[in-house]
Subunit: 587 residues, 2 copies
């Protein structure tokens, strides 16, 4: 155990310097108690990722750095922290300080060991806005008897060719060049805040294997876990050896990956002992042999996606001080699955489902909503909206009759939004919106109606993925001997907004499997209409779908936070600007 390094997979909260410091100390002490000689935190662990414009306050950067240097720990810890610039008109660095052991000497041995060299400024990243890039290799010498290369997140990605544009530098190659010049390192570490999306882990495995191979020594990556706003971090801290073997920590759990540099099979996982520690999903350590790219089968991917969505809402609530949730239960698949997510996130007793039938609601809607609520153990209330609907029509009926029929449909959705928000405001709960990515993309939802709420848990899941989550929740319930929360009626009936007589979604939209395929090809695949049609879709259908997608940008922009869980899509999808842009067309 002489060469045991601890990767502190922590769940930092943006801005909470004191709380984050305590979490790092607690994980480091746990690691020390099990024999680690050295530990490393995740990227910017002291302030949480992404700190965004908190970094524009010099005082904040100064206090974060001070806090990172003053941790009370029994072993040396490499801590990710912003670093104050040397001069007023410079930006801070995204750096790493060495802290502790606290008792070692009078000056603590605190010092800066690395500054991030590659600053991602694409997709969900904005680092060139906040940080100055460095161009010196990060090296920590004779720390607990080890000589280490030190990198920060993106620093490792250029070598694997996994960045959308090419940087002028390659920190892994620079460290390798030092090695060729005779500077012998025992390992290279990487402090990461690498956000989740479906199948992201395989990319990260490839990055770490490439680095270990180029450097010819073990490469250790500690990754943030948990949610901050619309970003999710899966943890999955990992270590790769030059021969291709890999050990991966659990996802969606706070804890410590103990790495034995000399023996992959001696690695182990220590769950956090904190009472509020993130603890979703499976507690498994994964061991990959060379050649195993880490690809999971479809069922595992859906399980992971489910855990991701639960983590997003759960951590959002914990970090925002939200303890109860209210949502509308329509008897449809989206609200049923959203209820499952809410129940898993804050506990079923803290979730209220409101059935709000209208004159267009079928009896099965009410029954299915009640079935979901009963299976999960939610608080459940039924509030018919017809009396309110009739009253509003009495007051503004003339206005409605004279205009577009969608105004009357929206009215019902907005009355429901009003009831859900009244409940939320009266009880101090958070309302959640139940929409999915497919309908949000098509504008098949009502602004200030079913889009109302502080969080949209399914907002980055295509409709067919929502069905997939239903299966996962049902399976988990069955395994626990409980009733299935999403009953057969909910799973098999044709999706309907029930805002007009006999209305079903397919009256307005293509069948969801096709709609999802077109949207995914465009949003994640970046394909234009012609290329999508060439894959076998009717050109007129593709054009309709893409036209609705463009037209509804503004509505989508007003969506409450939805965690990013779909596959990677540089700058596409939900991060587009507001309404007054012209749909560009070929000259």
């Amino acid at each position: 155990m002489g060469r045991s390094i601890a990767l502190l997979q922590g769940d930092s909260t943006v801005g909470d310097l004191v709380g984050n410091a305590k979490r790092i100390e607690s994980l480091a002490n746990l690691a020390e108690s099990k024999g680690a000689v050295l530990a490393l935190s995740t990227e910017l662990a002291i302030c949480g990722y992404p700190p965004r414009d908190l970094l524009l306050q010099p005082e904040f950067v100064h206090l974060a750095q001070e806090q990172a240097c003053q941790l009370v720990v029994g072993i040396p810890v490499l801590v990710g922290t912003p670093l104050s610039p040397d001069h007023d008109k410079q930006l801070p660095s995204n750096g790493v300080v060495r802290c502790g052991p606290t008792s070692a000497s009078s000056d603590h041995g605190n010092r800066i060991v690395a500054r991030k060299q590659l600053l991602p400024t694409y997709d969900v990243f904005d680092e060139a806005r906040y940080f100055k890039a460095d161009n010196r290799p990060g090296i920590a010498r004779t720390i607990a008897g080890l000589d280490l290369g030190v990198t920060v997140c993106e620093d490792a990605w250029q070598a694997a060719g996994m960045t959308p544009s090419t940087y002028a530098a390659d920190p892994i190659e620079s460290l390798a060049e030092w090695g060729r010049q005779g500077v012998k390192l025992d390992a290279t570490v990487n402090l990461s805040a690498s956000p989740y999306h479906a199948e992201k882990l395989m990319a990260r495995i490839h990055v770490c294997r490439t680095a270990a191979s180029v450097l010819d020594h073990p490469f250790l990556l500690a990754n943030q876990v948990g949610g901050n706003d619309d970003l999710l971090f899966d943890g999955n801290s990992l270590v790769a050896w030059p021969d291709g073997r890999v050990v991966i920590a659990p996802a969606w759990k706070e804890g410590v990956l103990m790495v034995d540099l000399d023996d992959p099979t001696a690695c182990s996982w220590l769950p956090s002992t904190a009472s509020d520690a993130l603890d979703v999903g499976q507690d498994k350590l994964r061991f990959l042999q060379a050649g195993d790219d880490g690809q999971e089968h479809e069922g595992e991917t859906l399980e992971d996606l489910t855990d991701a969505v639960v983590t997003g809402l759960s951590d959002y609530c914990r970090k925002s001080g939200i303890t109860s949730i209210v949502l509308g239960l329509s008897g449809g698949i989206d609200s049923a699955v959203a209820a499952c997510v809410a129940a898993a996130a804050v506990g079923p007793a803290n979730v209220t489902g409101l059935a709000m039938p209208s004159r267009h609601s079928s009896q099965h809607s009410i029954d299915d909503a009640a079935s979901t609520a009963a299976s999960l153990g939610l608080v459940f209330e039924t509030i018919p909206i017809d009396p309110m609907h009739a009253s509003v029509e009495g007051s503004i009926g003339g206005m409605l009759e004279a205009g577009a029929s969608v105004a009357g449909e929206n009215l019902q959705a907005r009355l429901r939004g009003l009831v859900v928000m009244a409940y939320a405001n009266a009880q101090g709960s958070m309302a959640i919106a139940t929409g999915n990515k497919s309908e949000l993309a098509q504008g098949y939802c009502t602004l200030y109606g079913d889009m109302a709420g502080g969080y949209t848990p399914l907002g980055d899941l295509y409709k067919m993925q929502v069905y997939g989550l239903a299966d996962v929740f049902n399976k988990r319930a069955a395994e626990a001997g409980l009733a299935m929360p999403v009953n057969d009626s909910t799973r098999t009936k044709p999706p309907s907004a029930e805002l007009a007589p006999d209305q079903i979604d397919e009256d307005s939209l293509p069948p969801y499997p096709e709609l999802d395929a077109i949207l995914q090809a465009h949003i994640e695949g970046g394909l234009d209409g012609a290329s999508i049609a060439a894959k076998g879709h009717e050109p007129a259908v593709v054009l309709d779908v893409l036209t609705r997608l463009e037209r509804n940008e503004h509505k989508r922009w007003q969506m409450s936070p939805a965690p990013r869980v779909s596959s990677r899509a540089f700058g596409q999808g939900w991060r587009r600007p507001l309404a007054s842009r012209h749909d560009w067309r070929r000259p």
Copy 2:
């Protein structure tokens, strides 16, 4: 007239390559007809600023560049356009091409003359996300017999020390060094998309004077005019001579500033002849002598702010295809002024004001709303909400009685939002929200209620500035011989939300002059609570205000686009992230 350069102050629409090309051609032809030998557009004029993630589509960049090179013009024009990178994994450049004259030769003489060197990535700018920085000086030789330095917007700001952090390069100093080495230039031009905020023009004058002085030749800046989403561009294209004289084009108008390099007094302004050209405010050319910093008196600043707010809404509507507006008229100052802005933006006959009195509304509220509507000539309807309110209370009264009283107050605001949105959806109008910056900062507004709407024209104006705009609109009405739209009752009564009996804003908030001062010190001034209290405010009041500001971040984030018109505030205010960040506090 041998050395007459035209600055094409155009109103580009983001993404509309064809429309923008036509506008540039039209302005260039106008300039040619009046004797200009050469013209320059604004920054990225061909695609509009800010193009944001359209730039991530290589096809878009390619077509923009092609379009910029193929303008049909009779004189050489320097056109701002994105430039395709040389290699796949590089970012585009923010550049300038020389185009035309169309008849001159077979290859048109088209070529790249400059690439932007300094990429602002702070405040409203995100250029490092989209562009590669260049490090070569831009020079256009023997173009219409002139040798010109060519810079793009930010390139000129480092020399004046007007950037928040220091760049490694200074393009103005580089051009000056070429001059010292014997490369004689006739002038340096700058293609800008420099957004507006109150008193921004003085900064721009200082930048141009500094450049002209350092370079020892005239410095000409063509600036975009009009609104795109939440950014406003004031135009105010200008030219500075080394002796400190300055000529400034009108604000809020599309047209051409004709610059005689040898005689400031011979400069002139040509309004655009396009039927849909932006045409707000005064048609004056300003001439400044050395030493005049361009500071306007308070009345002029308020006039300018009024024009800014009108331009924002007007251009948003034109570019989004919106021709009519609906808003709630409460009889209060905010909705009265918002109605004035709407009437100026799309014409009073295209604006509907809805009075929606409740059981808590006083008679003067209804009368004052009617007075504003009549003075402006709006469509006006009265829809009492009490029947609907009573019906909703009948359905969910138990829920409301059991909870926080704010739920009942929000209910009324949400019923009004529901009515306004029903009207908007039925008629194909855009609802606007009437809130101001002070109340939005304090959360003194209802999400999905009075915050509902596609645009928030007063959203970046403090409450006392709203009163200032009321005076401007009244003065303008009086000058035109019309009734004053904001009557004395509206201007002098204590502001009240009228959501509970005898409620006034001062029950919950400090008096607005004090509230505004505290907010401005924090948001624009960047001061913390202690520093604000030291300016003479009660510490407990300051703490309350700042606490409410932090707590209501999430609500504010859901605000519809509001043009940025308050004074400069790097990264503060309305661009903060979502809710789950921790309010940081000192360790």
